[in-house]
Symmetry: C2
Subunit: 199 residues, 2 copies
């Protein structure tokens, strides 16, 4: 494509580096950018700039924030004694998206994975223990993913946190709402039957 203009081939290359964006999508996005108004492009570029410059990890919970400590850690309303442990900062968005959790969060920054060389000291576990020891927390909800690494991490944290005198809970396993039995994997179904409840 020697005869194509350099600015657009560069833009396509840059866009194709984004996760989930292939060559075709990158082309489509590049032409979309060309069609956007100058003001829209400026707003877009400024949003990237501002996010990159102003966001850091909260020193208390490890989540993404532009103030220190973050709005969740700083809110008196959210000091209700419940702490939700998640693996990654983006999981906080999922929790907040629910609009029902009114406690605080703690971001581990990953899950235990000996194969990838991720041991407890690589996660925000020391700060978690400090928070729990500081008091004011009655319950810790372990909200890591229900996969091997997430389960191992939850189990490890449970062993550490229980002796500190807090209630340790785990998200319920079962069939997802709106799901169809036809498409549920056998393991989930067997866990859902095992955990059945009287109605």
């Amino acid at each position: 494509m020697a005869d194509l203009p350099e600015p657009i081939t560069t833009l396509i290359k840059q866009l194709a580096k984004l996760p989930g964006v292939g060559q075709r999508s990158a082309q489509r996005l590049a032409f979309h950018v060309l069609k956007m108004s100058d003001a829209d492009v400026l707003a877009f570029v400024n949003a990237i700039d501002s996010a990159k410059k102003n966001l850091k990890n909260c020193s208390v919970c490890g989540g993404i924030t532009d103030i220190e400590p973050c709005a969740i850690c700083n809110s008196e309303k959210r000091k209700n004694g419940i702490l939700c442990i998640v693996a990654n900062a983006k999981d906080v968005f999922v929790i907040e998206g629910m609009r029902e959790f009114s406690g605080q969060c703690h971001v581990l920054g990953g899950t235990l994975s000996p194969m990838d060389g991720i041991s407890p000291k690589d996660l925000n576990i020391d700060s978690l223990i400090k928070r729990v020891k500081a008091g004011g927390i009655n319950e810790v909800i372990l909200a890591t993913n229900p996969d091997v690494a997430g389960e191992a991490t939850a189990s490890y944290l449970s062993d550490i946190l229980k002796p500190l005198g807090v209630r340790v809970t785990r998200l319920a396993y079962g069939i997802p709402m709106g799901g169809s039995l036809e498409f549920i994997d056998p393991l989930t179904l067997s866990i859902a039957i095992e955990g059945r409840r009287d109605i």
Copy 2:
């Protein structure tokens, strides 16, 4: 999500405006941007800036270019008498991606569509007629899409261009290479049989 930091929610909103990017993808992209190095973010933002500032439509062919006229129109090597007509500037990328077409292109800027109020005067047809009348062109390949609007546009252009004494051709219809008969629609198959060739 009142407690989430503004710079990231703004970035997610901006990313979600892109075509094909939903709320989830926008979140994933936003967190990817936060993980990118400062240099990578700068290169990305500069690519957007540069594309937006330096690219315009070529006055000759209507394609995207950073020089005037564009590299394709300006290249002596590509003045071989063959002109490929495409609907949109991004179609030029598809033609160039083939690395086999050595003629010139002409971008209509859309296809005829009375329903959407797009008539011949809204497309770069006057400039096409001027180019053909100026001479040096022996063949015009109509490479609009094989859909209703593309066919109508090709038919309209054919009627206009043939009296000017140039050969007017259309891309071949048939089964796509690597396709499977099982998944070919009946219309394409019937056209492929109609257009069968001796081997």
